[in-house]
């Protein structure tokens, strides 16, 4: 048995992907086998997951959710669909982490920020000119609905503190620290270690400027607790924050979240 466009299909030995086109997706010209694009001449084997797609086709609503994950490593989305990830701060790190985790299909995202979108954010944060002045929680919720409407998005619009972090994020599987200020980064980690023991946690420290790519690393500092960054490049006068390097750090964080969820 194989699965073709999510439907179970019985196949004969020697069947190639092109042999399935007429019955399942007439006119298909894109062939994806177990998450990877292949030639139509590829033979199928038992338990294969196949997608036959037509370039430029707009799928109907019932197909869309499955198609969003057709390039995933098989099985990934099923495993993370039941997960909840909390994101503290929706700036240069948090907005990028939110978009990456929505694309990959984390079931629920809990987004927290107190601020509004400002023009100075757009050099690195995942918002649009027309969203200047909107609450970041509201703007990001709208953007994620465009990216992947099958992700549940909850928001907390307010300032986070040592008192409310355990209450707001008590039920998440992984907590991602995406604050700008060093004081808040320290406060959040201390709170998580003291009051949310054992919870997956991914923080960040040091990603300003345009220094070397490879100085940004992901360090495990406690079981299930990680900090991403170069630990040196501080945002300060003369050294700003820009999309490329903040994005490197944010995607380190998003991938570490995925690794914790898939462990």
């Amino acid at each position: 048995m194989i699965r073709v466009n999510e439907k179970p299909v019985v196949f004969r030995k020697g069947t190639k992907l092109k042999d399935l086109v007429a019955a399942i997706k007439p006119g298909a010209d894109v062939f994806i086998l177990n998450g990877y694009p292949v030639s139509q001449e590829t033979l199928v084997l038992d338990n294969d997951e196949c997608w036959l797609l037509k370039r430029g086709d707009v799928p109907d609503a019932s197909e869309m959710e499955h198609l969003l994950y057709s390039r995933h490593t098989p099985g990934v989305q099923e495993k993370i669909k039941g997960s909840t990830v909390g994101i503290m701060g929706l700036g240069g790190l948090g907005s990028v982490v939110a978009v990456a985790l929505a694309r990959v299909g984390v079931g629920t995202l809990l987004l927290a920020d107190y601020d509004v979108v400002e023009p100075s954010n757009l050099n690195r944060q995942q918002y649009f000119i027309a969203q200047v002045g909107l609450k970041k929680t509201q703007a990001m919720q709208a953007n994620l609905a465009q990216v992947n409407p099958y992700v549940r998005v909850e928001t907390f619009d307010g300032e986070l503190s040592e008192e409310n972090i355990p209450l707001v994020f008590g039920d998440v599987d992984v907590l991602v620290e995406c604050f700008d200020q060093a004081e808040m980064k320290a406060k959040a980690l201390r709170t998580a270690l003291l009051h949310l023991p054992g919870k997956g946690y991914v923080g960040a420290s040091g990603m300003a400027g345009f220094g070397e790519n490879n100085l940004i690393t992901t360090k495990k500092i406690f079981p299930n607790v990680f900090v991403v960054g170069d630990h040196k490049a501080e945002a300060k006068p003369g050294q700003g924050l820009m999309a490329p390097r903040v994005g490197i750090a944010a995607n380190h964080q998003a991938n570490q979240v995925l690794r914790i969820l898939l462990e």
Binding site: G92, D180, A182, A186, L189, S205, V227, V246
Partner: protein, 66 residues
């Protein structure tokens, strides 16, 4: 007396508090997370926790940007 800070041996005066020691390093206390002898310190413990001979202190420092 000797303590171990982030894996390195350091000499300090006996009776020094965690806060007193960090101030000698010119570290902003609000930007660190501290683990002392296997336990995470609450913020209000910094001035009252006295380091002992052989204490193991881990200092996790954060810098701004995000």
């Amino acid at each position: 007396m000797e303590i171990i800070v982030n894996g390195e041996n350091k000499n300090i005066d006996s009776g020094t508090s965690v806060e007193g020691y960090l101030k000698t390093l010119d570290i902003n206390l609000e930007t660190v997370v501290l683990e002392c002898d296997g336990g995470i310190l609450k913020r209000d413990e910094y001035p009252v926790r006295i380091l002992k001979e052989g204490s193991v202190l881990e200092v996790i420092r954060f810098i701004g940007g995000g």
